[in-house]
């Protein structure tokens, strides 16, 4: 099986750990990943004003690239890219007037009307591989690891592009359980990490991130799994500072769900690029013997 893949800017550099582990895992599962040609930044956020069409050009251009290259599905991974691409796609499907304006504005491109389906990596795994088959492929089960499924905002909201209904965490739960981990529910799985508000704010001001970590820690979660480089930044990379300022009670290491996937599939730890995570993340996995296969 071959899939078209949109990585997005952050996954090529600062979130290489999210991307490389994802691609290596799919390859191990027999899926060939083809990055679409000439992709550009999706714009990171979907424009919410009624009159702003210019910011649709970025995401729509990526969808056009996928259509041109014959894809009917475009798999993506970063939660923010997924949300922006899926919402722009929905606009192109449903709003005929705006669609026409955007198509006419991009007169150097083929017309687009939402022919490509934007699919998140987790949905793809469930639909095309399935949890049973994934379980069979696991070589180093993450037994003993208590994980929280941190969805954040953009995987589920708004409802019409959510990978599953608001308040339900079945996809990541299904995947993690197939990997042998114990999924511990907690009340902050869909709470915002503070998102782009990190810009211009001191990390210690991020009360939203502190709340998520405290709730997760309080529920007995040892590791948080996420799909978003901004969540990982606010909850993971900023965690030391939150701890130093006593905004959080205890650390809770953070991971991309794809890193946990790659490890359980028995892939080399190098593909997970743990050097980009906080040091505590690697330490926890070592202490739980999750790196045994590597």
């Amino acid at each position: 099986m071959k899939i078209s893949y949109y990585p997005g800017c952050t996954l090529k550099t600062k979130a290489k750990n999210l991307d490389r582990a994802a691609i290596a895992s799919l390859e191990a599962l027999g899926v060939e990943v083809e990055e679409i040609d000439r992709w550009n930044c999706c714009g990171a956020v979907y424009s919410l004003t009624a009159d702003d069409l210019i910011h649709m050009v970025g995401p729509v251009r990526n969808l056009i690239r996928a259509k041109e290259q014959g894809a009917d599905k475009l798999v993506t991974l970063c939660s923010m890219c997924y949300n922006t691409l899926a919402r722009a796609n929905q606009l192109m499907r449903e709003d005929t007037v705006k669609r026409d304006t955007i198509n006419r504005f991009m007169d150097d491109e083929i017309d687009y009307a939402g022919e490509v389906e934007v699919v998140h990596y987790l949905s793809f795994l469930e639909q095309e591989i399935g949890w049973e088959k994934l379980k069979e492929a696991v070589k180093a089960p993450l037994s003993d690891l208590k994980v929280g499924t941190y969805y954040g905002c953009t995987l589920q909201r708004p409802a019409d592009v959510g990978i599953e209904p608001f308040g339900s965490y079945l996809l990541m739960t299904g995947m993690l359980e197939a990997l042998g981990a114990t999924v511990v529910p907690f009340a902050a799985a869909d709470k915002c990490c503070g998102s782009y508000q990190v810009l211009g704010a001191e990390p210690v001001e991020n009360s939203a991130a502190a709340a998520v970590i405290n709730i997760a820690g309080g529920a007995g979660i040892e590791a948080l799994a996420t799909s978003c480089p901004l969540c990982e930044y606010n909850l993971g990379k900023q965690q030391k500072q939150l701890l130093a300022k006593e905004k959080i009670g205890a650390p809770v290491p953070t991971y991309y769900f794809t890193q946990l996937l790659a490890l359980a599939l028995g892939l080399e730890a190098e593909v997970c690029h743990f050097e980009l995570n906080d040091a505590a993340s690697l330490e926890l996995l070592k202490s739980k013997n999750c790196l045994a296969a590597a």
Binding site: G43, V45, S47, L48, M80, Y196, L199, E232, Y233
Partner: protein, 135 residues
């Protein structure tokens, strides 16, 4: 702060403009405060989203220009998915931001950011932040 509402403080035109820019109808709000209960950023806001909706309904343009709510909003859509009146509050917040940004003022100054911060932040943080907080 007591909100004064009279012909002098109200701008009916601003209600219409906000509705047009957001694509929402702020008058539908019934002040139940579900949005404020859902909002993860209220600790940093001087007014929660419910009170902002109230100000918007009454066209309190001047007060709306002075508060920080929409600058602290993270566009998380937690309010939107739970509003019993079906209002996309995140869109109202975006319209309030844009009304200010479109006068050419930045809320964060990219040129003031240190090289270390830029090297540290993920690209999506900067792209998203600049989209939301700069003109």
């Amino acid at each position: 702060m007591t909100l004064k509402m009279n012909a002098g403080t109200q701008s009916l035109e601003s209600i219409q403009k906000l509705n047009e820019l957001s694509g929402e109808n702020v008058k539908l709000c019934m002040q139940c405060a579900t949005c404020s209960g859902m909002c993860p950023m209220t600790a940093e806001m001087d007014y929660g989203p419910r009170r902002v909706m109230h100000m918007a309904q009454f066209g309190l343009k001047k007060q709306l220009a002075e508060i920080n709510t929409y600058w602290k909003c993270a566009s998380c859509h937690a309010c939107t998915v739970k509003c019993p009146r079906g209002i996309d509050i995140a869109k109202v917040m975006e319209a309030l931001r844009q009304q200010s940004l479109r006068t050419g003022q930045n809320k964060v100054e990219p040129s003031q950011m240190s090289a270390e911060t830029i090297a540290d932040l993920p690209q999506i943080a900067m792209v998203a932040g600049f989209r939301k907080l700069t003109s």
